[in-house]
Symmetry: C2
Subunit: 226 residues, 2 copies
């Protein structure tokens, strides 16, 4: 359902920066996996390309059966709203809006009326432990609360693909475990989930782990978990 | 060198939110300690009040021998630039500026000329492993690279007090250990260092640990470390 073939991403600085130096990766529908690697190794870049938020310099990308290079920006935007939930490393919440409306915004493309979107948003915020913060605007939330709003927004539409970029970096271990459990639940319900993470507890608990280093996949291992 | 006496911080929402519900804390010059607790428990709020970036609703704050309530905003600003280095949970880098100029900005108050500030900024960025990214602007840096720029900016002036709000949330464990080692070095050189962290490896390695829960200090323990 996600495939990268010889993907290169280069930025034209002096000297040029090769954020990805030739990545090959195939992910089947329904998988649950971790992406790990040092700071600056290309994880966010790879996740953005997988989520069609960025185009590679070279190589091919396929998402949900489509060859990304053959789609226009408008078609990619439609593909994303229907299939992909993205949790950004920097959250990107709408600053003037409440937690509830930030998450309801994740359903704008569905054509569902506002009060139904808010009802679903409220349910999503409950799953991340934020029922007591629905009406706080982004500036009235702690760092970990904002992170959880970003997670709720990404999953409220129950997308078939969830791409999460370091979703627990601002969370204590108890709250983190709740998020990992949420990802397991979504995966059991059929979603394909890719989690970029620096937390060894998380990567140790997922059935497949991809190690990135200097823009290349260093290892890609599936394991038996009891 | 830092004292909070019966500090309360309340936000006038409906119902009101008590981010801090009566905190008593004394930190001696030269200490190195961790502040831990669940997401939303008041850690950032407490750190901001300790750093004079916010005023309490009730209670007294003393920093570097001064009673904060007796200083004007201008005097507090002077106190901060002379004594305090603050690493923000959300980094707050200057977006159009390079890593080098972001860190050099941390020395603006010193009256030191630009090329000397840049030389010191370059040295500070080297200690956080970013010599290869000096001229990248904030948008050309990974999440963990931006976090390290924020750390370098906080410490470049060798402040006597370092307040770090979750400084390793976006870093892999190797890079994190480098940051912890940096804090130990600054502490050996005399700085007082308070680290808010969700990383149990970090809190376990510091000689004092304060647990916050629901805006109150639940425990405050000093331990013998070999
Ligand atoms: N401006 C505000 N108005 C209302 N409530 C606020 C405001 N700022 C923070 N809060 C609330 O105060 C509580 C404490 O916030 P704080 O940022 O100190 O938490 P924290 O311990 O740093 O959490 P995290 O680990 O998630 O960063 C949170 O529950 C938050 O929702
Ligand atoms: N617009 C850009 N121009 C130039 N270089 C960039 C740009 N964006 C990212 N980079 C560089 O590409 C490399 C990979 O960035 P990326 O954000 O993918 O890293 P990461 O693995 O997610 O790191 P982290 O764990 O710190 O979040 C980094 O070294 C970064 O400096
Ligand atoms: Mg990243
Ligand atoms: Mg915080």
């Amino acid at each position: 359902v996600l495939a990268l073939e010889n993907v290169v991403k280069e930025y034209p600085l002096t000297p040029p920066v090769r954020a990805l130096a030739g990545v090959d990766l195939t992910i089947e529908a329904g998988e649950l996996l971790a992406v790990v690697g040092p700071s600056g190794s290309g994880k966010s870049t790879m996740l953005h390309i997988m989520g069609t938020l960025d185009r590679p310099t070279k190589g091919d990308v396929s998402v949900a059966g489509y060859r990304v290079s053959e789609l226009s920006d408008a078609e990619l935007s439609g593909l994303r709203s229907r299939h992909i939930g993205f949790v950004f490393q920097a959250f990107y919440l709408l600053t003037g809006y409440s937690a509830l409306d930030n998450v309801a915004d994740g359903l704008l493309y569905t054509g569902v009326p506002l009060d139904e979107r808010r009802a679903r948003a409220s349910a999503a915020l409950e799953t991340v432990g934020l029922s007591h913060r629905l009406d706080h605007v982004a500036t009235q939330l702690s760092g970990g609360e904002r992170q959880r709003v970003a997670i709720a927004r990404a999953i409220v539409g129950k997308p078939s693909i969830v791409l999460a970029d370091e979703p627990t970096g601002n969370l204590d271990s108890t709250t983190s475990s709740g998020i990992v459990e949420l990802f397991h639940e979504l995966n059991r319900a059929g979603s394909t989930i890719v989690v970029v993470t620096h937390d060894p507890e998380i990567s140790a608990s997922l059935p497949r782990i991809i190690h990135l280093r200097d823009g290349l996949i260093e290892s890609d291992r599936v394991r038996e978990l009891s």
